[in-house]
Symmetry: C4
Subunit: 489 residues, 4 copies
């Protein structure tokens, strides 16, 4: 048993100890390789870091990075003045906890925006900033949220809509309705049940979850929370600089019963999420050197998570990926009709690519990147054959069942939600995510009834009026040859 | 005479009594079939429910649903502590009543918006929420209110406009000007004179009323309030799951002297009116079960009224309707040129359809459904022959005489107002509705004079500039065959 | 000498006396023919009405309407408790007078908006409402104010702009720059110098004034305030129901040296100016009868001024006008290319029509009428030959020298300002109007220099980019024959 | 040694002395030729004017304008009550100085807007007004700031973006990234290091500075602050009425090692910057004469700086310029495709013109002049060959790295920033400017990575979607001959 006062002495980069869940670790040698930066650890050196560590690292993360000798043993509880509670909503400050009593009953959350309002009350400023933030001036995020509203519906009359059927399949898995949960990272910032809670909610509501590569729980824990072994789940992949790490992950993914691999391509470099950076900055201490002033400091949680990801993938890397997984491959982050066409080439399909997710990473990659509905319309305009060769999914900006139906009318097979699932989790855990999904399903059903359609297959271009957006969709400039498709596989 | 204390003991679902207008009713067996839900009654079990019951049920509604033995007899007045007053503006809370003294003199209400402002002061929160609410994010309601403003007028000079004539006919009935009152439900939430008050006002101002299928007075009472037997009136029909109920209503409609039947088609399922739901929720108690949390609770007055309506009408049902009425049939709720064309088919006309109302149900059906003026322009663009075969009416978003004139320029025969009539009624009863109509008529006359036209027949496309909207009107996507018209009668 | 107490007894419609400038008048017989309504007088019956009467009636107005016997003679000053001061800024309430001390020095008024802000402080609520108000929802007024801003300038470089010349001629009169003051009524509500003050300011700055038919001074007084006999001035004409009144006016106009007659055609009926009506209502007493509640009451100063104007002019009436004046005729209020074409017909030109003013009456006629710049562009698009046959002027919404230059690039010969002249007058009298004109001239000069032009003749379509408006300009709907031009002269 | 009390007596236009840096000057004869106006000096007559004089005049300015006999000698320090400190942030009021302590640490300035917010806190009202102000209603400034946001990016996937290279050349000088600092005047209003501080920052960050013709330091001082002799710098030229002054300047420019001359053409006359004028007015005393009221008073610092500039340059003057410099010539302020085409004529190129800067002078010339990105698109549309013959630069409205990248996609070679550099300087001196540049460079790198390009040469029209702006770009009106190009060289 180690005396906490002894731990407190090791609070510099020369000797840095931390306590996590009552175990003392010597992280001195690990400091420089910490993906989240040296400072993040040093600011907790010599102290109990459980509260900070816990919600953003899957269990065992630290152990995997240390030698056995660096795990120093249990702290003597009698020497600690304050004890960190076991996993719970620890990231909430006391003020926030109080407001938690004021959050509305779950049944009074009537739409997805209600959940965002509640989440802002419940979450710590850091978690809120991480979830809510997007790149630069939030222009793409704003576009995501409003683009669907520019499309008008065309309801038909005298249709028998007693029974409407929202069921479909996504990548061969049957689902209750065409919505899936996107790979949003760090779910335990929202609620201790984290990604596992989302898994259970998805199972109960019959939808599919894509598990983040940066989940705050191990994939084993998340998959164990499924309602049944048949519950479909996708595994997100950020390819690491050290390919062996990614290959190891793919092995676990295969073994755990995931049903597809989602290769994420929309952030070859992290976007600039200033709200995230500001919170981070306000927590840390002032910069010491002038050069730090000029260069800036900590770039926020979003950039820290990116550490280690390779920025140099090309189409050729699909061959490597195929070698290391037997699962269907889905490409996430396409934003142009050119890339959609390239993904629909025979040689790409033969490598096992079965679908693409049109996504601007929730407005967190390039600001002023197009909203997904623009990309859908661009493919519809310039490369409609893509819809015959690949399942096309979209994510970003879904707030209403009408949004989902409009995406389907344009050719999408299903639609992903990200922040909304996290916001549902924030206030209410598993039940919150279920209610988010229930609201969307009911809104989809209502929209289908009011349009006069009874099955998703019926939905088509004749059910929407896209004139307000038509003139904004990319048109190849005159003189640009069609020679865009030149990247070899 | 029954002791009120005895009534108070029957306050559960096993034995549920209520007092209405000093009569005690045993509604235990009726509970489960109440269209408005069990809870709405249970929250008043054992009590005097007159205040809640009265403004939303036509007299005799309850008696029709009960056996004679369930009407238990008069309560002993001496045993009641508080007595509900006879029909009056009972839904107003005391605070509201006070503010009522502050409402402006009628002659200072200068336009329709003024009446909305006053109504918000006068009405109970529940009534205001029911009237004001629309679907989802109110986008369609917003479009309704602003679309007419995008159209510019083209005034001509050197025209003799000493005498302008606003008279016309609607479905063969002569009217003073081309405005009618839409079938808005629950008018007694606004004022005790309810739909009867609107009938009297319409008679005095020479316009036509369409009586709601969900009126808070019996059609007999409403028709009796007409100024003369020749005053035209339309009967709205929501076809019920139990067709015999609708057939019985049609018989009464024929007998009472209605001049047309308006078959409502724009809400095969109720829209999601969240303001309405929120008020309802705030009144009721908290949900007991977790599943109720996930599924949500009470869906508001708007959805309650929908209970019993069939969602499975098709064009074939027009034959059934024709069998049960001799009156002209008007189809309400068309929102596409395709359906307008289908309504103009010879076989439909032969079944007695004489007109169509382009309507998105005041923004209360599908959100992002097009505003009526878009539909008018779409028919003008894709199916102009419809205007020769059917009278085309529009409702939704009329705030000004200029709006009415613009609709007429585009080919509408007349224009309906809904909320404005209720708002006029709210603050001022019959006189308020009359002033609403007078304002519209005077604004129409002014607009005609300033345009340089003396009769409605003169109005045409040359009097408006629709360029701001032209590019937003639906254009059939390339590759969509014209094979839309496939529904057989 | 009449005792004021005696006057006070004649305060009903049976016997109604008023004191104006210390003279007692018996207006009992005149009551019913007062263009401003009975009530306006009755509310002052038995009292000194000078303060109300003075700023809106040219001197002698009342004398002209009464028999000699109805002019009863001077009041005994010793019997009056309060004496109305001689003409001054009497319409200002004391509170307003105080704030007058706070108005900024004239040289700190840097643009036309500054004058509007100051005017709102200085003017009585009634005067402000009358000047500021426009029809219905002020949509056309808003369009007027913003349409010019949608047009971009196209500055050229390497032009010698040392000397720029803003001089031109308007209807053969040389002017210092292409701006004139529109016929705005009731200038004495702004300042006791009234329209005479405007005349002096125009003379000093070398621009032209069009004198309102409803001026608050006699045309003789206004013309006498000109800086020289050669100072050009136009006379506005509203043709009266009683043509002899108009013929009499035309005779005075000829005799006084006016240089043209401006026949106003844009308000065959008064628009609905609600701000104006609201002020009026708030001053008067409550309505007595229910019908008054339904019909509304006083319609404001704007409508009162309209009383007596004929609503039935046609092109034929130009012959009558020609018979009664030798002056050039300018038609004011054209709003379509069709009417511009009709005005440019040979038979119209032969009657002495030399120019047209494109105008929507400052947004006070039909709301959603097009802003003048749209009309300019419509004529440019559909009937460009009009610019060769007539001088085309515009008014409405001019706030900047750039606005003036843009109108000229589109083909206008000159541009009118209305409210701005009154607002300049409000705070500062003659000097204020001069500064308004100076600001505009300097802004025009700066714009010319920055565009790289040295004379007005150089300005053309190549100096502006109108793309933002191009798609909003009226396009004749397909199927509409060109047969619009059918009105015979 | 002169007694300060003696100085105080010379405080009129008959005898006017001022103290600057403890030296007494007799400026009586100079008064009338002061470019900033008589009043600016008279308001300081008899006093110590150091604080007012210093930040807007390069050292020695006054000495150059006076005879030796007018430099009267040092003031006796013991006779002065308050002594002006030596050069420092003297233009800050005490209140401002305090707030200076509250400005955020440099590393928390995350984007260019942050610097503007801080600058408003730090700067004196006069300096803020001078920097921030633009013409008239700031419409062009607003366009500048938002036009880039209307263009969407088109990110490509599967591109190796490990190494991105932002290096390029501008006018043959190698730079670290394609941004330069525009010739913004009066930098010492922001910080005592003034333009010299900007020079050092540009050197450290590897970018180019264009030195203002109206710098508050001598060009010798600015050039001496460069990091190395090879650091490129351009010299701005406003041609003076007195050409000899400009010729003298050109000689110094050649001698000092400037690498190009930037001939500024966008303000042949000063625009109307009202914020600047208002501050100036509020400082000065009230106007004495009525005519001053009508004509307005002091026109602000922006106009004062313009004094002496010639308004009559033509293409012919390029020959004069060529005669007096051997440096490459860059034309600043082109705003039309016509002028771009004229600049690309062989005879112009032969005179040494190598580049053009598309600029509306930061919104300070003609209001409603087009934003630079419109001009880029106009040239791309009507005269694309210009990009082959000249380097095309743009300035105005750059707030983000995405803005820079979009300009480059459209064909720009580099992009200038003006206010941002001054705002960086305001709060933080040299380091602030460096951080502004660092932020831009990092944002450019991130944008390149997210677009999937590794070098600037790759950027092209296929990386942006300009549809939202396409319809706003100038289109030659039908009937306008192509005969625009008629100015002879």
């Amino acid at each position: 048993m180690i005396d906490a006062k002894e731990v407190a002495r090791h609070n510099t980069s020369s000797s840095c100890w931390v306590i996590i869940h009552n175990i003392v670790y010597d992280v001195t040698d690990f400091l420089s390789s910490h993906p989240g930066g040296v400072k993040a650890i040093l600011s907790l050196a010599g102290q109990d870091a459980t509260e900070e560590y816990d919600p953003i690292h899957p269990p065992g993360t630290l152990e995997e990075s240390l030698e056995e000798s660096q795990i120093l043993g249990p702290v003597d509880p009698s020497t600690i003045t304050t004890i960190t509670p076991m996993p719970s909503l620890t990231s909430l400050s006391p003020e926030k906890d109080k407001s938690k009593n004021d959050i509305p009953p779950l049944e009074e959350q009537l739409n997805l925006d209600d959940f965002a309002i509640t989440a802002e009350k419940v979450l710590s400023p850091k978690a809120w900033a991480y979830y809510f933030s997007a790149s630069d001036d939030l222009l793409t995020k704003q576009h995501n949220n409003t683009a669907y509203q520019q499309i008008l519906l065309r309801p038909r009359i005298f249709k028998d809509v007693r029974d409407v059927d929202t069921r479909t399949t996504i990548c061969s898995s049957p689902v209750a309705f065409p919505v899936f949960v996107c790979p949003a990272a760090m779910a335990r910032l929202a609620h201790p049940s984290g990604e596992a809670g989302i898994a259970e909610a998805c199972g109960r509501e019959g939808v599919l979850q894509c598990v983040s590569n940066n989940a705050s729980l191990k994939p084993e824990q998340i998959m164990a929370s499924r309602v049944s072994d048949k519950q479909p789940a996708w595994a997100q992949l950020y390819v690491q600089e050290d390919r062996r790490k990614s290959e190891a992950l793919l092995k676990r993914v295969d073994a755990l019963g995931f049903t597809a691999v989602v290769l994420t391509l929309d952030v070859p470099a992290p976007g600039k999420r200033e709200a995230d950076e500001r919170v981070k900055n306000s927590v840390n201490t002032a910069s010491a050197t002038p050069s730090e002033g000029i260069q800036g400091k900590d770039k926020g949680l979003g950039r820290a998570l990116f550490a280690g990801t390779t920025p140099s993938l090309t189409w050729e890397d699909l061959k490597w990926l195929r070698k290391h997984t037997k699962l269907p491959i889905i490409l996430k982050g396409l934003q142009t009709h050119e890339d959609a066409s390239m993904a629909a080439r025979r040689e790409v399909l033969e490598l096992g690519v079965t679908g693409i997710i049109l996504s601007n990473h929730g407005g967190r990659a390039a600001d002023t990147a197009p909203p997904p509905v623009y990309i859908l319309m661009e493919i519809r305009k310039h490369a409609p054959e893509v819809f015959d060769k690949l399942e096309v999914y979209v994510d970003g900006g879904i707030r209403r069942g009408t949004d989902v139906v409009k995406a389907l009318c344009l050719g999408a097979k299903a639609v992903g939600i990200g922040r909304s699932a996290l916001f549902g989790l924030s206030g209410y855990g598993v039940d919150g995510v279920r209610r988010v999904l229930t609201i969307l399903r009911e809104e989809i059903e209502t929209t289908m009834r009011l349009l006069g359609v009874y099955s998703l297959e019926e939905l088509g271009l004749e059910h929407i009026n896209t004139r307000a957006l038509d003139q904004l969709i990319y048109q190849e400039p005159q003189g640009l040859s069609g020679g865009i498709i030149k990247a070899k596989l």
